[in-house]
């Protein structure tokens, strides 16, 4: 019996021995064939998803809400499209009343907490409401006779809406046909995105990367989250959902990059996305009410300063900059969250912009941020903050000359930093000639370019790259991994999404309810743009290399959560 069992075992082993290589051979053949096909589909799907998201977002801007009409004595009826309207004779006035007696910027008509207010901007002719002179500002009712320098007019409610109750959630344009059209589109777009992401997961398993089955639940939860979030958003609001779909697209790439470059970070990164979505939801909700949002601004300022102090006191150094806080069970970068506070700090409403141009708090906070960043030697982020400061300050004041002086001063300081800090100077020394220092100070940039050249237009397939083996490649050189594994076309799509955020914020500004939202959206978009520009152009030697992340793309929990928080600023302006 023994000998029979032994011989059976032997036969089985031999059979298995000959089948196993056959099976693995077959599997690798299948995996290779999969990559061959899939690598063409990714750029194609990316482009389709991109177009299907951008078109409705751009189109939606053409339908905007009318909150009421300003009717003049001669019968002219002027629509009131914002919560804040500049009335005057000048070309920048939202409501142009073209009489010589009216000042260029005469008054601001503001909607706040359910009622309208008119405020004088120090006009020559003054304002009266029902023949009572308005000193500074005066709440008005529909039908009150408002007189600007003797020109009579009255605010009447909008024609279509029976009662105007802008609680914030409502943003109905009333054009239902078009909305149905969008609904259909966005669900199909989401399905295409799912196809893209499922194909990506399969590609990861077909690649050289050592993917384990443990990664599957992570992607499963991510898919469910996307679906859940999508349908909740659809239920709760009537706005285009494509902004979120674009961000899902970026987050999907982020998870694929992390799965390839740092599989052990995958769960953490998923958690960051979930926390990010939660933060996004909370901030969007907080911002619905302008009064609440403005109070939030002061809270954010305090919180931001606390985070700065926390960083200076307890910061740890990982890769160059001392910008990590270790709480034992979790490490995070507080400065990522300061970005949200920073944007909020820079916001203001239109009447404030036109009457009291008081930026002291904002300038002080910016200064505190940049000094902190200089102390912890995170110069890339300092540039991001400074750039965002310039944009917000310009939108705030329109004062080019002062900002030019500030920039000149900062450039001076920058030169001083480069001159006296050898660590920064070395990066500048390699800038523009990294191939001469390919194995020293130009190491990261040359490896990024080599990776980009190896990826071609379609990439070598997610998981098949080599750049990821370099330290911190999944954050600082993430553009190179994207080019290598996904190809130049997908990388270009990512760049275009970020650039689109900027154009979208610009589009939103024109029809924004309040200057507060417009400035916040533009500030957030500027941070996205500057980070992407520094990361992408820095890693390929067009700019000096600085260690900043690409929003939603780089590996990193704090960056992911903060990016969602900033996205909420853009969403709130819709």
């Amino acid at each position: 019996m023994n000998s029979f069992r032994e011989s059976m075992q032997q036969v089985l082993q031999e059979t298995a021995g000959s089948i196993y290589p056959l099976l693995t051979d077959l599997a690798s053949q299948a995996a290779n064939t999969y990559t061959l096909v899939a690598r063409w589909l990714f750029p194609l799907l990316s482009l389709v998803i991109l177009v299907r998201c951008l078109v409705p977002l751009i189109r939606e801007r053409s339908t905007d809400t009318v909150w009421g009409y300003l009717v003049l004595a001669n019968g002219t009826s002027i629509p009131v499209r914002n919560w804040e309207n500049l009335i005057g004779r000048g070309k920048y006035a939202d409501i142009v009343v073209n009489f010589p007696v009216i000042s260029r910027s005469h008054a601001v008509l503001t909607f706040r907490n359910g009622s309208w207010t008119i405020a004088d901007l120090g006009s020559k002719g003054g304002i009266t409401v029902n023949d009572v002179k308005v000193d500074k500002a005066q709440e008005i009712q529909f039908g009150d006779v408002i007189s600007l320098a003797g020109i009579d007019m009255a605010l009447v409610p909008p024609v279509q809406n029976e009662a105007l109750v802008p609680t914030g959630a409502a943003g109905n344009s009333g054009d239902t046909d078009e909305e149905k059209d969008f609904t259909l589109n966005s669900t199909v777009t989401l399905m295409l995105l799912f196809l893209f992401q499922v194909l990506a997961v399969v590609q990861l398993f077909a690649s050289r990367a050592s993917m384990t089955l443990a990664a599957l639940p992570v992607f499963g939860i991510f898919f469910l989250t996307e679906l859940f979030h999508y349908f909740i958003m659809r239920k709760l609001q009537s706005k285009s959902i494509e902004l979120e779909i674009l961000v899902y697209f970026l987050c999907g790439l982020n998870l694929a990059l992390v799965a390839s470059a740092a599989p052990s970070d995958l769960k953490k990164q998923l958690a960051a996305i979930l926390i990010g979505i939660a933060a996004y939801t909370v901030i969007t909700w907080l911002c619905l009410d302008l009064g609440r949002a403005r109070r939030l601004k002061y809270l954010a300022l305090v919180g931001g300063v606390l985070l700065l102090i926390l960083n200076l006191a307890f910061g740890e150094r990982i890769y160059g900059a001392r910008n990590w806080i270790n709480l034992g069970f979790i490490t995070f970068q507080p400065l990522e969250f300061v970005k949200i506070a920073f944007v909020l700090a820079g916001t203001a409403t239109l009447d404030r912009l036109l009457t009291t141009r008081n930026m002291t708090a904002f300038i002080a906070f910016t200064g505190a941020c940049i000094i902190t960043l200089a102390l912890i030697r995170d110069f890339g982020t300092a540039v991001v903050f400074f750039g965002a400061f310039l944009v917000i300050a310009f939108m705030y004041s329109g004062d080019l000359r002062t900002l030019f002086l500030v920039t000149a001063g900062a450039a001076f300081a920058g030169i001083a930093v480069v001159t006296f800090m050898p660590y920064i100077a070395m990066r500048f020394a390699a800038w523009g000639k990294v191939w001469q220092y390919a194995d020293s100070s130009g190491f990261q940039q040359t490896r990024t370019m080599i990776a980009a050249a190896s990826g071609g237009l379609f990439g070598v397939g997610s998981g098949n790259g080599y750049l990821k083996n370099i330290a911190a490649a999944d954050t600082d050189l993430v553009f190179g991994i994207l080019c290598e594994e996904w190809g130049m076309l997908v990388a270009l799509c990512v760049v275009l999404v970020i650039v689109f955020f900027v154009f979208y914020a610009v589009l939103l500004t024109k029809n924004s309810r309040s200057a507060f939202y417009a400035i916040a959206a533009c500030g957030a978009a500027t941070i996205f743009l500057l980070q992407t520009a520094l990361n992408v152009l820095g890693s390929v030697d067009v700019l000096p290399l600085t260690g900043v992340t690409i929003p939603f793309i780089s590996n990193g929990g704090s960056s992911m959560v903060a990016s969602w928080g900033l996205l909420a600023m853009i969403r709130s302006a819709v």
């Binding site: 500049l86 920048y92 912009l353 080599i450 070598v460 610009v506 500004t509 417009a518």
Partner: protein
Amino acid sequence: MKLLAIRTLVLIVLALLFLAGFTVFVGRYLHSAAAWAQHPSNRHFYQNGRLKETGTIYDRRGEILLETKDGVLTYHPEENIRTAIMHVTGDQDGNVASGMLKVMWEHLTGWNLLTGAYRYQDSLSATNDLTLTLDARLSALAYRELNGRKGAVGIYNYRTGEIICMTSSPSFDPQNPPDIQADPERYKGVYLNRLLSAAYTPGSIFKVVTAAAALETIPGIEERYYHCSGKILIGADTVTCLVPHGDVMLKDALAHSCNVAFAEIAGELGADVLQHYAELAGFNSRLTVNGIKTAAGRVDVKQAAPVELAWAGIGQYTNTANPLAFMVFMGSIANDGLSVSPAIIARENIFPALAKAEKRMLPEETAKKLKRMLRNNTLTVYGEHRFSGLELCAKSGTAEVGEGKEPHAWFAGFLDREDFPYAFVVVIENGCTGSRTAAAVAASVLHAAVDRYQ
């Protein structure tokens, strides 16, 4: 809001700046991606700085010159062959800039701008292989004939442009590279393919160019006699011959390489005419051999004094010649004045396959006259017995390269045979008399070439 909307222009400007920067990157990418991908740290292609996998390189007879076996670059099994054509295949460390491993890197590794380093099943296909026009064994023979002397040998088909023999010395065994630094004198310029990338003082072979100019521009030149008393005074300087040649016609002057006659002819031609015909013959311009740019030979007599012009006319002064380019000039004489651009890669390997490019260097009549004169050289001076059956037309050169140094030896020409339309060049650095040393190498290699393809 209009006010803010106007101010958002600053965001548009920032976005455009970023896109401009990105465009700069895309521009650089399109221009340099091939060079980036070739960096030895690129693990898609390299392991420890050496290529992991390439297509196979064959010679015209199907011999494998280079292949990768299990991730190791493997050259021809015979050391003398892989050494002789090391400059053609290229060395493992990428030092030979004109080697196929460098020049045809994209073809051999399968990289391209569209698909990058991606390869289906991580492996190459037959489309990445490369067949050369070269005969490796013939090249090995030529290398052996150089016998350790520095120099180069080239043979090409002046009707099709195919280079069938190419070797450059010194060389080394690329499979087992020696320590180059240990013997700087022996390995001086070892990474240079001297046939393609060097330019030497031409000496008397340049007289063919001067003769071409004379035939074109001086009426009745073929009937004229020049008197050689062994030296001629030009200004305060003299140009000399080793022996007085007496009264010589142009063809005798060429055959006996009479400096005095050619010094006079150069003076008659004048600087502008000589310059013009030198440039027609390919001087002052580079040739392209399957994307490899050759070194340019130089002739610049615009500012030359009369005696300098005389020296230039006999191939000295500041003149230099690139061996391959001079071989092509010789080929054009054989081919009735039409030069065919040389190629090292078999035409079917190249996509898109370009038609052979022809260029007229000389009028047909002048080419025929020169051919008769070059044939006369062999018959009257070099000795038909040394080149029996080859129908050899040639010119030798012994180029002075300075006090205390042996002159460079040149021998260049072609076979006037329909079945073997070969033009050739042999140059040996400090090889003494061209008609002896270089001609001996040429005789041996040309006989072998004809024997191999009889």
